[in-house]
């Protein structure tokens, strides 16, 4: 990806790397590493509240399942630009891809912290060990492949910086194939992240246990992709004091709203077909959390229903924020709130457990700041 005829070329932002923000982020990262050190010496139970009743905690439900969904900006934009031929969004692809690459790499790498027998991780990819009927096998292989694909997609930014023209030219000849893979692989694993819990059967509350989980997770992943681009654009424009690409965000939010309406039809339709609508009216924590989730999905639809509303940056920001939280709660509800494996088990993440997830987020933001200052990622501003 590089300069085009119509759009300003990406260029490094420059500016200071050591600021109060980056120092704070670095401290949070350091805290997470200390906690992980304890985890590798004393075991997973020493720093988390996971148990045999809740063997998956936030290191899976948040770091991997939600973390990778929040890293879908690159996927959603690639889908839009290269498949649906919406060229006007092309300048947004590279910054989105950077955030995605970071998000996915950390989501993938963070799995290691949660694996009890991490030294055997390679077994997933090894014939003889690999078990192809396992949904987790599919998720692991597709996420790993996608990380590699994103690194190749993103490599022009490095190649430009270091002047490897030949490799860049060769890469460009097969770029369409890489791009196609970059759309296929996230479609596969984002849906499969929902499929993961189908085998849990009746341990998942009927408000979330459905054979439609792959479709629900896929649709929300694409929407989250749009939402995170809007969210990051707003933050990045205020943080780096750059003008907001409002016309593009308005267009994105229109697509996001349409997809959201379709999603709500599928979601409620599925509950109706399965005869599970009644569960949302029961006096239970599951029903309450369902309403929180659905309220957050409905809010952006209401906020952005009028075309004029999509021109207001504050409203776009709030709507995107709601949608991110909606996707967050769908996944937390499906994996943790709606998971019940018998009486007597409870789970709420421990403080060190949360600090590791916070450290990962900090590392992501820190990496993004450093790279956009150092590499040609954000479009160059015309007035400079």
């Amino acid at each position: 990806m590089s300069a085009t005829h119509n759009h300003p070329a990406p260029a490094p932002l420059g500016g200071p790397l050591v600021t109060p923000v980056t120092i704070t982020l670095a401290i949070l990262v350091a805290i997470a590493f200390v906690i992980l050190g304890i985890r590798f010496v004393l075991g997973i139970g020493a720093v988390t509240n996971v148990s045999d009743g809740y063997p998956f905690g936030i290191w899976i439900a948040y770091d991997v399942v939600i973390g990778s969904a929040f890293a879908c900006g690159g996927y959603s934009l690639a889908l839009l630009v290269y498949i649906f031929n919406k060229g006007e969004y092309h300048p947004m692809v590279r910054p989105a891809l950077l955030a995605s690459m970071f998000g996915y790499t950390l989501a993938g790498a963070s799995v290691i912290f949660d694996l009890g027998r991490y030294w055997n991780t390679w077994h997933i990819f090894w014939p003889g060990y690999a078990q192809v009927n396992s949904v987790m096998f599919e998720v692991a292989v597709c996420i790993t492949a996608y990380i590699v694909v994103m690194m190749i997609e993103f490599s022009p930014a490095f190649l430009e910086k270091f002047g490897f023209k030949d490799i860049h030219k060769k890469l460009n000849k097969v770029l369409f194939l890489i791009i196609a893979l970059g759309v296929l692989l996230p479609s596969m694993h984002q849906s499969s992240l929902g499929s993961l819990i189908v085998v849990f059967g009746n341990q998942i509350h009927p408000l979330w246990q459905t054979i439609m989980l792959p479709l629900l997770f896929l649709m929300t992943a694409v929407m989250i992709g749009f939402a995170i681009v809007i969210f990051e654009s707003c933050l990045s424009s205020s943080g780096f004091k750059r003008p907001l690409e409002l016309h593009l965000l308005t267009g994105l939010s229109r697509l996001m709203t349409g997809l959201l309406a379709a999603y709500l039809v599928v979601r409620v339709g599925d509950l109706a077909v399965r005869g599970a609508l009644g569960f949302m009216f029961e006096p239970s924590i599951e029903a309450f959390m369902f309403w929180v989730e659905m309220g957050l999905f409905a809010a952006p639809l209401v906020l952005l229903w009028q075309p004029a509303a999509r021109q207001k940056p504050a409203r776009l920001f709030v709507a995107a924020f709601c949608l991110l939280f909606a996707g967050f709660f769908l996944r937390i509800n499906a994996f943790l709130v709606g998971y019940e494996t018998g009486a007597g088990w409870h789970y709420f993440p421990a403080v060190p457990e949360i600090m590791v997830s916070v450290g990962l987020i900090a590392l992501e933001i820190l990496g993004y700041i450093v790279l956009v200052r150092y590499l040609p990622i954000l479009p160059k501003e015309e007035q400079i």
Partner: protein, 321 residues
Amino acid sequence: MKRRDFLKGALAGGAMLASGSPAQARPNKTMPPEAVGLLYDSTLCIGCKACVAACKESNGMPPEFSTAEQYWDTPLDISGKTLNVIKMYKEGSGEIKDSEKNGYAFMKVSCLHCVDPSCVSACPVSAMTKDPVNGIVSYDKGACIGCRYCVAACPFGVPRFQYDRPFPQITKCQLCTHRMKEGKYAACAYVCPTGATLFGKVSDLHAEAKRRLALKPGDDTEFPRGNLNTHDQSSFPAKAAKYLPQIYGEKELGGTQMLKLSAVHFEKLGMPTLPERSYAATSETMQHTLYGGLVLPLVFLGGLTYIAKRNVKNYGDDEKE
């Protein structure tokens, strides 16, 4: 390919994803030919926990304490240190054995060795396997990555994990496979004084369970002990209890190789009510519909590649710099 055609194709693909094709539906797996297992009769169990102690000793598992004085092994549940426990149900005054009101009853908690196990379907690295001949569900720590997907997936909460260790393992009952190599059988059944836990071929255990259900409550009868197939121990004479007309494990999720009889409802004893179709079959049908032979992904990739190749040109992404 026009975009409209692509959308049509994508919609058709989506419909396939969503509906699944019945032709590819994976049925429940069936009982292996030489399946062995256990018959646990709650009405015969006296709660002596000899099976708990024998299991610990035979499998070399450490003691687990639940009292202030750590004198002896007192596990309350299966765990990373315990593969088998006897749990007690108690209601009201708790005086009458096998009565739901003012009574008590026991339940053995250990692996049921499902005919179509969720743990085996879930495991990404073949660390959980089901023997094709005797049907025992075994765990291989050498293969295991410690992801705990099996722990989360098991509808009976059986596989457990060692959260307090830097180099942890999954733990579960493997029906004393290591003793079978020495011509012995499951330690829990071997030491059971009343035959409440009985080892044998599943088909024979099933027939024995049927025989018990056919008895009138109060009838005098002989209960085999130890190994049903070799009759290595004398039988235990007792009166038939007022059984529920149900063999737990006969149909649950396509059946298990551990069968259970009780006079108290199984839900009250912690055994969940489950459908006949296995969750492994549901999950794998879905996966095979989407990814069988990689047909759908490759078709999808073909379409995407075609469109991407045309569109990349529009943006000059593949032009020389």
